[in-house]
């Protein structure tokens, strides 16, 4: 699929594409040659596509970076050699990349002779549709002077990429594409254009100490130069902004996805004569254009998601230019969660004092809320056969929940806080769990257990572990080693043995790393063996200081993807399976409440296993205190077996 569209898609063809794929095609039409990314929803797929096609186009390089700081500096390095470079990250990735980005933006991303160019595609996630937090990363562009594009739909997201590179190259600025889940995961019709020429030419770095070495006086000169560079972009901004004219004295300023909600909300309210200033570039904001738009209006509403970025900017401009219109934004448009057309209707109506006939909807909403009480929640959970679920079972069994702090982290295991497992006490950010555990360990006598995935370990976990050892923290750290960045859908990391180009790589020994850092007590245990895991945890609890248990078992989905290809050819589908003898099941709750595998089914007086969902990990067989789970292996050599 990727190759068909991205590599072989015919110019001028019109196709329905999901936002991420449309942007990937736009990048190839622009001639991007270096792409680096740490996976993160909503933009993960773009990296996945590049990983699959990287070897199809000469000179195209893709890297799964170990974290966003590594990713953005790698992209800057390639751009400094004159290569059009891209880095992608989710909103919180910006926090990790920001340290490096602050200097890259200052120095400028191009080569000393004006080649290259750097684009960041940052996936915001209002409503936290696939994230552990909600933040407004738009303010980075204000702080670091990034040329900030905000496409409102898939077509613009694809079409504006060449210009983003043109501006980056021409003015030595970092271009910042801030999209949201609603663009990444929205399908629309786009037109394909010709791919750029890929013939694998090399870049060249040209030395220039004042540009690349950020120390006084160069850093101050570059800061001053950055203001001048940003100033030059202003005339270009008009090409991305759009004024939809109207005779009303009430106008709207908006940008990005909320524009689509706004247009439909205005039609819903029969306010089709309301002028709209739709910003395509929100940093820098085009001063004259806004002033012209605003000077004859009485009221202006700014429609945007999360914190007021545009609102603050236009209020500043209005004050400087003595605009008399009443300007409002967050007073009427909520500043958390995702917007939708209904929210925008309500916001506009409240601002304009338009009475909305909401009684029938309110009645419906009330009924809905009432019925919702009987709907069981369905948060995301561990897959059937997930090694992390198995570890959590043993962890609960072998620790004193009331007197233990469980420091959670980002990865599949973050889902352990959902009931009925409920074994996470805090979630901060990548490696923040262990980080906070170190501090807590100094000031409490409670037992502290920290969880960390292998991808997190190589992302930011190593320096935090060093800090824990250096300061002699009294913590048991579990490294959940499932070989992949599983949460995002099974992406390779330094622990996977394969990289973004599909080339084999050495797998570091996590045990040796911990040992060499000075952890005195390290064990490697298979979580599918709950008895051994439980015994190991009990042993760990008898020790003091920093202890590490590496819970090692490949992600079930990844293992099956690879093994099934072989096994389904050789063996009948259900040659090795588990089932529950109803007479032996005592409904004790061990499997259903403490393990809670999604392949289990609750019947009136016994549990059963849904063979369609069961992956035969065997953990329920191991933990059942009544020996009610039966393991059956059919000899495939028997007649009818295969």
């Amino acid at each position: 699929m990727e190759e068909k569209i991205l590599v072989n898609g015919v110019p001028n063809e019109r196709v329905m594409l999901i936002g991420n794929m449309a942007m990937a095609r736009g990048l190839l039409e622009t001639g991007v040659q270096f792409v680096s990314q740490y996976p993160g929803t909503p933009v993960t797929d773009i990296g996945t596509y590049f990983s699959r096609i990287a070897k199809k186009l000469p000179g195209l390089y893709f890297q799964w970076a170990s974290n966003e700081a590594a990713s953005i500096t790698a992209a800057a390095g390639a751009s400094w050699c004159g290569i059009k470079s891209l880095t992608l990250m989710k909103h919180v990735g910006m926090n990790v990349a920001a340290d490096a980005l602050s200097v890259i933006a200052l120095n400028g991303p191009t080569s000393a002779d004006g080649r290259g160019g750097l684009l960041i595609i940052c996936g915001g996630d209002p409503g936290s549709l696939g994230s552990h937090n909600e933040q407004n990363e738009r303010f980075y562009s204000w702080m670091l002077h990034l040329c900030h594009f905000e496409p409102s739909n898939v077509v613009e997201a694809k079409e504006w990429i060449p210009a983003a590179y043109e501006i980056s190259q021409k003015f030595d600025l970092v271009s910042f594409y801030r999209i949201t889940s609603r663009i990444s995961h929205t399908v629309e019709e786009v037109e394909l254009k010709s791919l750029a020429d890929y013939h694998g030419e090399k870049g060249k770095f040209i030395k220039n100490i004042p540009k690349y070495c950020s120390l006084p006086p160069h850093c101050i000169n570059n800061h001053k130069r950055l203001y001048e560079r940003m100033e030059k972009v202003v005339p270009y901004v008009l090409g991305f902004n759009k004024v939809i004219p109207g005779d009303s004295k009430f106008g709207i300023v908006t940008a990005g996805v909320p524009f689509g909600y706004t247009v439909e909300a205005l039609r819903y309210l029969h306010l089709e004569d309301v002028p709209i200033l739709k910003l395509g570039i929100i940093n820098p904001i085009h001063e004259t254009q806004f002033v012209e738009f605003a000077q004859n209006l009485d009221k202006i509403l700014v429609v945007e998601e999360l914190e007021p970025f545009v609102e603050i900017e236009v209020k500043r401009l209005a004050q400087e230019h003595h605009i008399s219109a009443e300007i409002a934004g967050k007073k009427y448009i909520k500043n958390w969660g995702e917007l939708n057309p209904n929210e925008v209707v309500t916001g506009i109506a409240n601002f304009l004092d338009i009475p909305l006939n909401t009684s029938s909807f309110n009645e419906k909403a009330q009924k809905y809320q009432e019925y919702l009480k009987m709907v069981p929640p369905r948060p995301p959970t561990f897959c059937a056969g997930c090694p992390e679920r198995a570890l959590l079972f043993s962890l609960k069994a072998a620790t004193d929940e009331a007197n233990t702090i469980y420091a959670g982290d980002i990865g599949c295991y973050v889902m352990s806080f959902f009931p009925p497992l409920g074994v996470t006490d805090w979630v901060i950010c990548m490696s923040g769990g262990l980080g906070a555990a170190v501090g807590a360990a100094m000031k409490t006598d409670q037992e502290i257990i920290a969880l960390m995935g292998d991808s997190t370990f190589y992302h930011t976990g190593l320096p935090i572990l060093v800090n824990a050892i250096y300061n002699n923290a009294n913590v048991i750290l579990f490294i959940l080693d499932n070989s992949w960045t599983a949460m995002t859908g099974g992406h390779p990391n330094p622990n996977s043995g394969i990289n973004g180009m599909g080339d084999p790589t050495p797998i570091p020994s996590m045990r040796d790393i911990c040992k060499s850092l000075g952890v005195p007590w390290v064990r490697v245990v298979d979580p599918y063996n709950p008895r051994l895991m439980t015994a190991t945890i009990l042993e760990a609890r008898k020790q003091q200081g920093m202890r590490v248990i590496i819970s090692q078992r490949e992600c079930m989905l990844q293992a099956r993807k690879r093994l099934q290809k072989v096994f389904t050819k050789l063996l009948p589908q259900k040659w090795d399976f588990y089932w529950i003898e109803p007479e032996r099941c005592a409904m004790c709750g061990t499997c259903s409440q403490k393990f809670c595998c999604t392949a289990l089914r609750r019947n009136a007086d016994y549990m059963s296993i849904d063979l369609e969902r069961c992956t035969a990990c065997g953990v329920c067989y191991e933990i059942c205190p009544n020996s009610a789970v039966i393991h059956t292996v059919i000899n495939p050599h028997l007649e009818g077996g295969a």
């Binding site: 995961h185 929205t186 929640p377 809670c596 999604t598």
Partner: protein, 219 residues
């Protein structure tokens, strides 16, 4: 001018994305052939909702009469208004109830009655509500008289030996209600072109279609 909205709800892994894309690709094919569908926007959910969590997708078509002038601004939002779904499909019963704010009197509702118990039900902390209760709740919230509730999964298993064909049976049921502004032939073509093992899926579609017609005749 008319905007047609469909929402499809289910559990991560039930293939609602594929379902939606069949509708979209068929609509796009008709658009290219000069039909009255002029613009299509579909919204998907990826990420956390894949892990057996609740998930929902929607797709929106802009339809114009021949004398109406196309404007790109006639359809701009990927999300519909509450109550504005013309077609609502629940591949899993409580998941449709979870999205019931999108339903209204005009909504054609197809409910697959095959349940998937979430963790809270497996653990015994909550009961899965009885089907009658779910259907009554959906009827009460929406006020819609057009509700088909049927175990499409059982049909797929009985007739085709594979639960994977559930969604095609449901699509057939939906087509029987004439609630989808697409030609049957276009949908068949798209299934042939884009879905692996199209012949079984086309049979599933036909089974759904016939079952739907029979249901409508007898009601």
């Amino acid at each position: 001018m008319r905007i047609w909205n469909a929402i499809i709800c289910g559990v991560g892994g039930q293939g609602i994305m594929v379902f939606k894309r069949i509708l979209e690709n068929a609509a796009f094919r008709e658009k290219l052939k000069g039909g009255n569908i002029r613009k299509i926007i579909g919204a998907e959910k990826h990420g956390l909702s894949q892990r057996e969590g609740a998930t929902d997708v929607c797709t929106r078509f802009l339809l114009l009469e021949p004398d109406e002038v196309y404007d790109d601004l006639l359809l701009t939002s990927a999300l519909p208004f509450y109550g504005d779904a013309d077609l609502a499909i629940g591949v899993e019963p409580v998941e449709l109830l979870r999205n019931a704010l999108y339903l209204s009197e005009k909504t054609f509702i197809i409910l697959n009655t095959r349940t998937i118990p979430p963790c809270a039900v497996i653990s015994g902390d909550m009961d899965y509500p009885p089907l009658d209760t779910i259907i009554n709740a959906i009827r009460d919230i929406s006020g819609s008289p057009h509700i088909i509730a049927l175990d499409a999964t059982a049909l797929a298993i009985e007739q085709l030996g594979n639960a994977l064909h559930t969604n095609m049976v449901i699509l057939g049921l939906a087509l029987a209600t004439n609630a989808i502004p697409l030609k049957l032939e276009t949908i068949k073509t798209i299934i042939e072109e884009t879905i692996p093992a199209p012949s079984d899926n086309l049979r599933a579609l036909e089974i759904g279609l016939q079952t739907g017609k029979n249901l409508l005749d007898t009601s």
